[in-house]
């Protein structure tokens, strides 16, 4: 089973440790993981701005690069949703490279849950954790149940996290409220975006959590930026980091360096 690792642009540049953890996790599951060279971005920033003609060549490049693998795995629900649900605009319905990439691109937890029996290596993370469900992971990929919909779905992120020894998942008041990142929204609507982020953090803080864990580093980048501005000790970690047994930094100095 050869799977391709897609590392979104902002993770490649700003959060390489998340990609390293994802790679190690997939390798520990016994997968043959390759990291295709020349990958950059799924095109979401341009697509979400409405710049479709600027998105098309980036999407085309992505499909050229990733067609032919058994699976493409991405540590981001948002980028996965872009490929699965928004690429259709740029390809013919029956383009085999496109349909192959569309149908075989998975978010990390989704892949483990749906395609790999849901099992993870033995790891321990003896901490109180609150899970931030990203909107795109939740509502576009269906990684969990949405509070708006009256149908139940398995919570794939929580399902894999619950296998971690010692972990304690803390309940939130608003389980799936948007954090306010929203790509360029965070810059276009900076005041509203930051207000949303502060409220999100207050909910996580109020739960007694030590660390916000999410399958989307983009949400966490925004929340981390606010936490650091607030000099708030609450930390953020990508789900892959927890699943490979990275430790939560517990000394204030180390915490400051991490966050």
């Amino acid at each position: 089973m050869t799977v391709a690792l897609f590392v979104p642009c902002y993770i490649d540049q700003f959060f390489p440790q998340v990609a390293v953890a994802t790679l190690e996790l997939l390798e520990s599951l016994g997968l043959d993981v390759v990291f295709p060279d020349g990958q950059t971005c799924c095109g979401q920033p341009m697509a979400n701005t409405g710049c479709n003609s600027d998105t098309a060549p980036v999407a085309q490049r992505f499909v050229d690069l990733f067609a032919g693998y058994d699976a493409v795995i991405c540590p981001s629900g948002s980028c996965t949703a872009m490929v699965r649900h928004h690429y259709a605009e740029y390809f013919a319905d029956d383009d085999p490279a496109f349909t192959s990439v569309r149908d075989r691109t998975f978010e990390l937890c989704e892949y483990i849950h749906d395609m790999h029996g849901g099992r993870i290596p033995d790891v321990c993370f003896p901490h109180r954790v609150s899970v931030h469900q990203s909107c795109h992971g939740l509502r576009e990929l269906g990684l969990g149940s949405q509070s708006e919909r009256m149908t139940q779905r398995p919570d794939k992120v929580a399902a894999v996290l619950k296998q971690v020894q010692g972990i304690e998942l803390m309940p939130l008041t608003r389980v799936d409220e948007c954090c306010g990142f929203g790509g360029t929204f965070a810059v276009n609507e900076a005041d509203v975006s930051a207000a949303m982020g502060r409220d999100r953090i207050a909910d996580h803080s109020g739960s007694g959590s030590e660390v916000i864990v999410s399958a989307d580093m983009s949400c966490l980048m925004h929340l981390q930026g606010i936490l650091r501005r607030q000099q708030n000790r609450l930390q953020v970690m990508h789900v892959s980091e927890v699943l490979v047994g990275r430790e939560l930094e517990t000394t204030p100095l180390a915490a400051a360096q991490r966050s």
């Binding site: 390489p16 020349g38 979400n48 032919g68 948007c178 609507e189 502060r198």
Partner: protein
């Protein structure tokens, strides 16, 4: 009238940066959202009802001309007079003409977002007619000379202390009074007198029923019934998208409407009107297009005509909850408003489709399954296509696209950017020109990207020969496929 161009971030700023008010507003609407969730979860077939409602609307909109004609025939047969208005001006002129025919000087009007959309109140007032809004929330905003900030909860942005002040000024209530019971009593007495002196009653319409020629108005205060019971003339103003085929269809919508709107199992009053109430009375129904036919002709945005104006998308919208309804500068605010407003005037409302984090909550809360956040995304594409995206953003996206097509350049730019962020003093990277850093720190840039780590720890990444689509081993020395 030339509308000013709305810039949502600017319009939202005073509201959202007033943290107390923004939180209070957010909490009030979230309370309604939670009530809605409770009610929706009490209906086991909720998702089926949504599907059914959406299908009924799709069918009705597809055959709208036929249903409107059927409605007109049946309504006329019941003694109503049906008028057709192509736009707001025509709607207002028709209403004024009816009022003039009866020598009317004052009217009572129950809540109608259509008359708001058409600007009926100022039009009638300019023509010497006193208009009294009889919905409590609408009366409050009317006394304050404001517009509704929400289509179901028009005064949701006003605190009870402020209502007390308004009533003290206009109704003579005690200064400083803020007890809701006391204020409601005062409003009730005030409105009771207005009801008695109203010469014509105007209502909106929630559902027009083609099969019967009747229509339904839903209120919680009974003010529509009161407003049209005493006067001998009732004018009902109805957008043409309010049509449904039959009474059987109505039951689907009444189960969804109040639960979605306010979290009630049903509105307190669901009033049916079938023709004038007696031989001495008149019922006028004004069917208004005002841009709806144009929306109907658009494949992408047609489902927006499904809207039953429940306001659930506003209650759930994290942007609306924090920025307040007036920040949209539109009759209908929130997600559905941000779809509808640019369809009237793309240039004036071009910032609204971007006043959205694309969280998608609106689409899933919508009882008639309008794919709201996909429509907002589609609007962005339309705006860019029409050259309405600001040049700075256009250039930024062009540049990003250029870089993302050239991995070598992308890596160089990334490396330079990270180095700059690492070596430059904090005040250079965190200042008022960097919108990100107004309320957030930038990520701490690592020395190496993941790709650099990968090369150091795993060897060269795998290259692909995109010409034949085959994966190739990484240990070769060809150009690495960069387009740069």
């Amino acid at each position: 009238m030339k509308l000013p161009i709305v810039d949502h971030p600017t319009a939202a700023k005073p509201f959202v940066t007033n943290e107390d008010r923004s939180h209070w507003h957010d909490d009030a609407l979230w309370f309604v959202r939670v009530k809605r969730d409770r009610q929706a979860s009490s209906v086991p077939e909720w998702e089926y009802l949504r599907e059914r409602a959406s299908a009924i609307k799709t069918h009705t909109i597809a055959n709208l001309g036929d249903y409107l004609e059927q409605f007109e025939r049946n309504a006329t047969a019941r003694g109503a007079t049906v008028h057709w208005a192509a736009d707001a001006e025509e709607h207002n002129a028709i209403v004024l003409k009816i009022l003039r025919q009866h020598g009317t000087e004052r009217i009572v009007k129950s809540k109608s977002m259509l008359t708001e959309e058409c600007g009926l109140n100022p039009y009638l007032e300019d023509n010497g007619i006193e208009v009294v809004d009889t919905d409590l929330g609408e009366r409050i905003v009317q006394l304050r000379e404001e517009t509704p900030s929400h289509i179901v909860l028009p005064a949701i942005h006003i605190k009870k202390e402020e209502v007390g002040q308004t009533f003290h000024t206009h109704l003579g209530t005690d200064a400083g009074a803020s007890d809701p019971q006391y204020l409601t009593e005062a409003a009730r007495n005030h409105l009771r007198n207005k009801f008695l002196s109203g010469e014509v009653g105007i209502t909106g319409v929630n559902f027009g029923i083609a099969e019967t020629g009747g229509f339904v108005v839903c209120t919680n205060e009974g003010n529509a019934d009161l407003g049209v019971s005493l006067p001998k003339v009732h004018i009902a103003c109805m957008g043409i998208e309010k049509m449904i085929p039959s009474l059987a269809d109505l039951s689907v919508f009444t189960r969804l409407l109040a639960r979605s709107a306010t979290g009630q199992p049903v509105t307190t009053y669901t009033s049916h009107f079938h023709g004038p109430k007696d031989d001495n009375s008149e019922l006028h129904i004004v069917l208004v297009d005002n841009g709806r036919t144009r929306l109907r002709g658009n494949d992408t945005f047609r489902p927006a005509m499904h809207c039953i104006r429940c306001g659930a998308c506003m209650n759930t919208c994290p942007v609306y909850r924090r920025s307040g309804g007036h920040s949209y500068r539109a009759t209908v605010p929130g997600p559905i408003g941000s779809v509808l407003s640019p369809s009237r005037d793309a240039k004036s409302y071009k910032s609204l489709p971007y006043a959205c984090s694309l969280c998608g909550s609106c689409s899933d809360v919508c009882p008639v399954k309008i794919p709201l956040h996909h429509q907002l995304l589609a609007w962005r594409g339309e705006l860019v296509g029409n050259g309405l995206l600001p040049l700075s953003k256009r250039v930024a996206m062009k540049t990003a696209s250029f870089l993302f097509q050239r991995p070598g350049l992308y890596r160089t730019a990334g490396s330079m950017g990270r180095t700059a962020l690492r070596v430059l003093p904090h005040f250079v990277t965190h200042n008022r020109f960097n919108t990100w850093t107004k309320a957030r720190e930038l990520p701490k840039p690592p020395r190496e990207s993941f790709r650099q780590w990968y090369i150091a720890n795993r060897g060269n990444p795998q290259r692909r020969d995109s010409a034949n689509g085959n994966a190739t081993a990484h240990a070769n020395t060809r150009s690495n496929g960069d387009a740069s």
